[in-house]
């Protein structure tokens, strides 16, 4: 006996200390979502209590022993109206409140820093603007809005950070996005929550929230030597995009400077906003949307560039916007210890560690 009990005791202690009932609130949206959650829990408890009280008290009052003969009642419009309108009203409150939160979670603020995340069976790859690259982990600074642009290389995945109360599906062939502002430094779970095959349950990782200082240190220590835009620049050169996209007067393709965020008029008569998704599509399916004034000569790069490669190209093109570039450079620089974030001018990319080839699809 005396030998067994310490074992059991240890077991219980281990269990109880490792026992969670509510997830940590580590983002700005978390307490807002939890307020709604607890409101709904409260309403549910009241509703459930009413149902249980009605059933038990009627069961006691009108059991056959006490009440041998039933009194027939057809119904009551007043009562029925009550229990139609009150639940409806409460549900509508939840609907509006929920919609407000939903819009907040999926509408990133303009100054959010952007991290690309690529899901594949069975890992998460994060691409930071400074060129930092991580697998199954994500380092973010506390107190800054971070936008994630997600895409999947194969099947549906879903990027879930319970402590932040955010989640977004990573879909093949399409960017989706979500944002958060982490508040409390620490390490939190990262899960893939959309079933994605064999090792779905191993597609997990850590989200590490760092204080701004620690984050700077982390950025410096995990830099790969070239920013994401610089990688894109190399690809741009090695795939000879510049053969058509140059600023020369006789260029066969449009200039890509300032194209990000601009309105493009297509030969089909539509106008589109050139956002991330459009840029991606313009590279992979150019024949789907031809910009007015140009011939449909751009070849498709489908199957030739990896998802990360496309991301690097998109990031590079985004940075060609001068305003944006300034903004991006300053935001990246003030996080970086030295001036590493600055994109090198085109043509100077020979110095990179592993230039062209990076980002290409390995056949």
């Amino acid at each position: 006996m005396s030998q067994i009990s310490p074992v059991i005791w240890q077991f219980l202690v281990k269990w109880m200390t490792n026992f969670a009932l509510f997830p940590p609130e580590a983002s700005r949206i978390a307490p807002q979502m939890d307020a709604l959650y607890f409101f709904m829990v409260l309403v549910s408890l009241i509703g459930l209590t009413i149902v249980i009280l009605l059933v038990t008290s009627f069961s006691i009052l009108y059991s056959k022993k006490r009440h041998p003969v039933a009194v027939q009642i057809e119904g009551s419009t007043l009562l029925e109206a009550t229990w139609t309108i009150i639940p409806l009203g409460l549900f509508l409150v939840m609907f509006v409140w929920g919609a407000l939160i939903y819009f907040r979670v999926y509408t990133p603020p303009a100054n959010a820093m952007n991290i690309y995340v690529v899901g594949k069976q069975w890992m998460w790859k994060a691409e930071h603007p400074g060129g930092q690259h991580e697998i199954n982990s994500l380092h973010v600074p506390a107190g800054r809005a971070v936008q994630l642009t997600l895409i999947s290389q194969d099947v549906f995945h879903s990027f879930s950070i319970p402590a932040f109360r955010v989640k977004r599906e990573a879909i093949p062939g399409r960017y989706t996005s979500v944002w958060f502002e982490a508040t409390t430094p620490g390490t939190y779970h990262l899960f893939c929550t959309q079933y994605c095959g064999t090792d779905h349950s191993h597609m997990i990782g850590d989200v590490v929230v760092l204080t701004p200082d620690d984050y700077k240190k982390w950025l410096a220590s995990s830099t790969s030597g070239a920013s994401l835009a610089q990688n894109g620049e190399r690809l741009f050169a090695s795939l000879s995009c510049a053969a058509c996209h140059n600023t020369r007067p006789d260029a066969r393709g449009p200039s890509l400077a300032n194209v990000y965020g601009s309105k493009l008029r297509l030969t089909s008569g539509q106008t589109v906003i050139a956002d991330d998704a459009y840029l991606r599509d313009a590279i992979l399916n150019p024949s789907q949307h031809i910009t007015q004034g140009y011939a449909p000569i751009m070849p498709t790069y489908q199957g030739q560039i990896s998802e990360e490669g496309v991301i690097a190209l998109v990031e590079y093109i985004k940075n060609l916007d001068s305003d944006y570039r300034v903004q991006q450079t300053t935001t990246t620089t003030d996080l970086l210890p030295q001036s590493e974030g600055k994109a090198a001018p085109a043509g100077q990319n020979a110095a990179g560690k592993d230039p062209a080839g990076q980002g290409m699809v390995k056949q």
């Binding site: 059933v55 229990w83 319970p162």
Partner: protein
């Protein structure tokens, strides 16, 4: 005053009527070629019970694996196959046919005062399709299984797994036709076969609920069939409708699948709600409170049920405005469910209540369905859905409605009509115990999963972080209790076939036409076509009938 309404004939003289639908003809062939809706119902009952126990065994394996955080009992691949087959079997081969194909099949014609369903041969065909589909699904399971989950999400199911997707898809396709035919048969029967005097608003609410469910089956299932055919075509010839590399849209599959599968959840609950109406009314000796509201709420659920499918896709990148609309509609569809709960509660008001097993199961249903429905609202609220979707919260939600709701209702109905179907009573005490054990086991199993989901534990995980273990152990322990709760009825119901007390025509003193004839019924149900000259749930009419009998005999 006794605390039961059971009134059985004198056991020393009573016997089961010599001629009834069970004894009319003998031999296996007389069953396999029967057109009798009651025999087909029995065939269905046996087959769905078989599948329920296979699905249940798989559930046991899932819970065993989740006892520990590591995936140690089986490889992740095996685990994935186990939960996929569990879902597929329980949904398509147990829950969808459960109440309609057994109790509905048996009692809709009798409640309407008809001799059979409108299309007896089609009814038999449904059962054969069901069996063929079931065998195909089992074959797929034995020869390697399938690991896509019951949702067959593309492009996983089309390009990334090499398990038996096509065979399983085909099995579900065939099962779909079985349920389309059942639905069609019910609709035609309800329109055409009602006895004289049986107006729409004199029909038992059980029939109304099946009418609504049948509409869902007939209109929804073809869309599932199309989705599955497209998956098969995509896998075999690569037509590319779901493949972004070929200009297809991977979200299209989600739309098609949920366009069926949301209505399907109501196919899986409406018939159960129908059962609850009959049981609660009978055991409180009262007409269902607000008959018309309850009848229309079934139809409202069926109609709105078609317009909420995208609430399964809130985080999949559908447009924000679509999310608004679908979230709002989901709120609207939750209201008729709330109405029903309160109407049932008020049916008890000023009744004369007894607590036989079917009533205990019905109380269980009311409590658990309330929780299931309310947590559905957590998920229909777009903001909180972001956090709760794809976690154990969803798993808990749908088990509360499907197991706490539909399975409880099925058991309530099975016990309620058992005397009519077999002519014998089930043993009351032990079955009350089973009802209580089921209720306790259920809560132990599934309530912790709400907390797990809120903590963020993803569904369909073979392994999980250690801090989730305590709640998972609770859940597995509860599942063991639940298993006992489900085994008991198998034992005592089988026992009762031989040793149960003789039930007589109407042991519960219920008002439905099915109770005004012998048990088990004749093949043609009634000796003469009944005339419905009173409202549904008219207990005073029943009293007058009894008096008449006494005076005519005496």
């Amino acid at each position: 005053m006794s605390s039961t309404i059971v009134s059985l004939p004198d056991q020393s003289t009573a016997r089961i009527p010599k001629v009834n639908f069970l004894t009319k003809e003998n031999g296996l062939l007389s069953w396999l070629l029967t057109g009798d809706h009651k025999r087909i119902a029995i065939l269905y009952l046996i087959s769905i019970s078989f599948f329920f126990f296979i699905g249940g065994a798989l559930a046991g394996l899932i819970r065993l694996e989740l006892l520990t955080p590591q995936s140690d009992l089986m490889a992740t691949d095996t685990y994935n196959k186990v939960f996929s087959m569990h879902g597929i079997i329980m949904i398509f081969f147990f829950l969808v046919p459960s109440v309609p194909a057994t109790l509905g099949n048996f009692f809709i014609p009798m409640m309407l005062g008809a001799k059979d369903l409108a299309l007896p041969k089609v009814n038999l065909l449904s059962w054969y399709l069901y069996v063929a589909a079931g065998m195909l699904a089992l074959y797929a399971m034995i020869t390697g299984g399938v690991d896509t989950g019951w949702t067959f999400t593309t492009p996983l199911s089309t390009h990334y797994v090499n398990t038996n997707v096509i065979t399983t898809g085909l099995a579900i396709f065939i099962a779909g036709f079985s349920s389309i035919f059942t639905g069609l048969n019910f609709i035609v029967t309800i329109h055409k076969m009602r006895a004289p005097g049986m107006t729409w608003f004199r029909m038992p609410l059980f029939v109304w609920a099946h009418y609504a469910a049948s509409i869902l089956m007939v209109l929804g299932t073809p869309v599932l069939a199309i989705a599955l055919v497209l998956v098969v075509l995509e896998r075999t010839v690569g037509i590319g409708v779901f493949d972004p590399a070929k200009g297809g849209d991977p979200l299209l599959f989600q739309h098609l699948f949920w366009f069926y599968s949301h209505p399907a959840v109501y196919i899986m609950i409406l018939p159960g709600m129908g059962v609850i109406n009959e049981v609660i009314s009978t055991f409180s000796r009262k007409r269902v409170f607000g008959y018309t509201a309850v009848a229309f709420s079934s139809v409202a659920i069926a109609v709105f049920g078609f317009f909420v499918w995208a609430h399964h896709m809130f985080i999949m990148g559908v447009s924000n405005y679509a999310v608004l609309v679908f979230s709002l509609l989901t709120m609207l569809v939750a209201v008729p469910s709330a109405i029903k709960i309160f109407n049932w509660a008020f049916t008890l008001y000023k009744g004369s209540i007894t607590f036989e097993t079917p009533m205990l199961y019905s109380f269980g249903f009311m409590g658990l369905f309330t929780i299931g429905g309310l947590t559905g609202v957590f998920l229909g609220t777009s903001g909180t859905d972001i956090h709760l979707t794809e976690t154990y919260f969803i798993v808990a939600h749908f088990h509360f409605v499907m197991v706490g709701g539909m399975l409880m209702a099925f058991l309530a109905g099975l016990h309620f009509w058992w005397p009519k179907m077999t002519g014998r009573m089930y043993p009351e005490k032990i079955s009350q115990l089973a009802a209580v054990v089921t209720f306790i086991g259920f809560n132990f199993t599934f309530f912790p999963q709400f907390i797990l989901g809120t903590l963020g534990m993803p569904r369909r995980y073979a392994s999980y972080p250690p801090e989730f273990q305590v709640l998972n152990v609770f859940s597995t322990a509860g599942a063991t209790i639940l298993g006992v709760g489900y085994l008991l009825p198998v034992l005592y119901l089988t026992w009762s076939l031989k040793y149960g007390e003789i039930a007589g025509n109407n042991p519960w003193q219920a008002t439905g036409l099915e109770w005004q004839t012998q048990s088990p019924p004749l093949t043609e149900n009634f000796t003469e076509i009944p005339i419905m000259d009173h409202e549904a749930y008219d207990y005073e009419w029943l009293e007058r009938q009894k008096e008449k009998e006494v005076t005519s005999v005496g």
